[in-house]
């Protein structure tokens, strides 16, 4: 509503200016037409024509006409202001100043101030957000560093445990191997002894059989046993 009123006011003023003032200044009355108008007015007032003046004897009328025609090329002092223009122009400025101080300027200034405040506030918020983000980042970095050190500690602990476990397992394995070795040695020894016993009796039988066939002699059992044992001992020492 207010906007429409302002636009209507300006448009109305422009139309009034255009409509009531005519065309551009350069199209104004010329010196020639002014002189003609003055001459016509002179002729109308005095009833004399220019031809009447040519004859002479009417110097006073000629002077009057001359003065009025000269008025066409003589401008009044343009530096002297017109009262009506001072009143309207000066008054327009004073009223404008009052209205501008009252309404016009504060309205624009308010928008400019609001914008400045908004920008300042947005910048503050951006600074705050940046500081917050920085704090969060620092916190994350600290937490990350903690996590890294915790992970390193866990790894170290695991490594140590693994080392201990490995040492235990190695020691146990070595013990078991030693036991197995010892067991195996015992088993081997027993098997050796057993094999030697078996071999000894087998060999004795073979030898007895062979001796019987060789000497075909009938020795008593005690003598045979002694002979065999001696033979076996001899074979065993070899």
């Amino acid at each position: 509503m207010k906007k429409r009123f302002v636009i209507a006011f300006i448009s109305g003023s422009l139309l009034l200016t255009l409509g009531m003032t005519g065309t551009a200044s350069a199209s104004g009355e010329s010196v020639g037409s002014c002189a003609i108008e003055e001459i016509e007015a002179f002729e109308e007032e005095t009833g004399l024509s220019l031809h009447d003046l040519h004859g002479g004897g009417n110097e006073e009328a000629l002077q009057t006409l001359s003065d009025s025609v000269e008025g066409c090329i003589e401008a009044p002092s343009p530096i002297i202001p017109e009262v009506n223009e001072i009143i309207w122009g000066g008054g327009a400025f004073l009223v404008l100043l009052a209205l501008m101080l009252w309404k016009g300027f504060p309205a624009v200034q308010k928008i400019m101030n609001e914008r400045s405040e908004k920008i300042a506030s947005d910048l503050d918020e951006a600074d705050k957000a940046k500081a917050d983000a920085q704090a969060v980042k620092s916190q994350y970095e600290a937490e990350l560093a903690d996590a890294k050190s915790a992970a390193a500690a866990v790894l170290e602990e695991a490594r140590q445990q693994a080392e201990v476990l490995r040492s235990d397992l190695q020691a146990r394995a070595e013990t078991e191997i030693a036991e197995m070795k010892s067991q195996a040695a015992s088993d081997i020894e027993a098997a050796h002894d057993r094999a030697m016993g078996d071999l000894q009796s087998e060999v004795a039988d073979i030898v007895v059989g062979a001796a019987e066939r060789v000497v075909e002699a009938n020795l008593d059992a005690e003598a045979q046993a002694r002979l065999i044992d001696n033979y076996i001992d001899q074979v065993g020492s070899n």
């Binding site: 207010k2 906007k3 302002v6 636009i7 006011f9 300006i10 003023s13 422009l14 009034l16 200016t17 255009l18 009531m20 003032t21 005519g22 551009a24 200044s25 350069a26 104004g28 009355e29 010329s30 010196v31 002014c34 066409c72 090329i73 003589e74 401008a75 009044p76 343009p78 530096i79 002297i80 202001p81 017109e82 009262v83 009506n84 223009e85 001072i86 009143i87 309207w88 122009g89 000066g90 327009a92 400025f93 009223v95 404008l96 100043l97 501008m100 101080l101 309404k103 016009g104 300027f105 504060p106 309205a107 624009v108 200034q109 308010k110 928008i111 400019m112 609001e114 914008r115 908004k118």
Partner: protein, 257 residues
């Protein structure tokens, strides 16, 4: 017979270029003519510009707001801060109003079908110059005291005492008499000269067009060039009037400057 007459150059009397017939309230102090309407239009334009800009919603300036806000910033940064400093910011509304009113009164010099700078009449230049005279003298007395202001104005410090015989009368005429007159005459004379130039080239173009066609090219080109130049002059004279006002006011507030 003069050369101008040979060319059939029908140049209007100078008074017809600046004096306009009354169309209302004939013969009274409130008589209205073309000049008065231009003042009223400058009034409406300035006020309308600021009211429309002030009514725009949203914080991002658009369209006409740029002109109003740009004007305020221009007056504040290029005039007030340069001449009066931060203390002068409270006078920005006054100086901005003055700048726009003078500018709009001037710019009608090149607006088609109006083509008359209202400040080519002495009324507003002298009225505003007298207003400025009252304001800066008031500020001087208010800020320095009556005797302090007179002393600082008429007896500038740092001048050998013997020279005061010459300097004091000069300063008196300069500060209290010449300033408002020079302020008014500078603006008025510039606009008168600009208007005369444009009319001269326009009449010359029209006359040569009637007689030779081709001969009108040169004055028409000059007319175009001078029209652009007068736009600059309109702005420049508004700026000069406003900045000198600020200088006088600043000098009255801070005599040491």
């Amino acid at each position: 017979m003069s050369k101008l007459n040979l060319l059939a150059l029908d140049f209007p009397p100078v008074s017809h270029l600046f004096e306009w017939p009354d169309f209302a309230f004939h013969g009274t102090p409130l008589a209205m003519n073309k000049t008065v309407l231009i003042y009223l239009f400058a009034f409406a334009l300035t006020l309308g510009l600021f009211l429309l800009s002030g009514s725009k919603k949203g914080l991002v300036p658009r369209g006409i707001s740029h002109v109003a806000e740009g004007g305020i910033n221009f007056v504040e940064d290029s005039i007030v801060m340069q001449t009066m400093g931060a203390e002068g910011k409270k006078y920005v509304p006054f100086l901005t109003t003055m700048f726009f009113f003078i500018f709009f009164s001037n710019i009608f010099e090149v607006i088609p079908f109006i083509q008359f700078p209202a400040n080519a009449r002495m009324a507003v230049p002298i009225a505003m110059a007298l207003m400025v005279w009252v304001i800066y003298n008031f500020l001087g007395v208010k800020n320095q005291g009556f005797f302090g202001y007179i002393k600082n104005s008429l007896f500038p410090p740092g001048v050998p005492k013997a020279l005061y015989i010459i300097v004091t009368p000069i300063e008196f005429f300069s500060v209290f008499i010449i300033r408002p007159l020079s302020l008014a005459i500078r603006l008025w004379a510039n606009m008168v000269a600009g208007h005369l130039l444009l009319v001269t080239f326009a009449v010359l173009s029209a006359t040569l067009w009637d007689s030779t066609y081709v001969g009108a090219v040169a004055p028409a080109a000059m007319l175009t060039l001078m029209t652009g130049f007068e736009i600059l002059v309109s702005f420049l004279q508004a700026f000069i009037f406003t900045i000198l006002t600020a200088v006088y006011m600043g000098g009255a507030i801070h005599p040491e400057h």
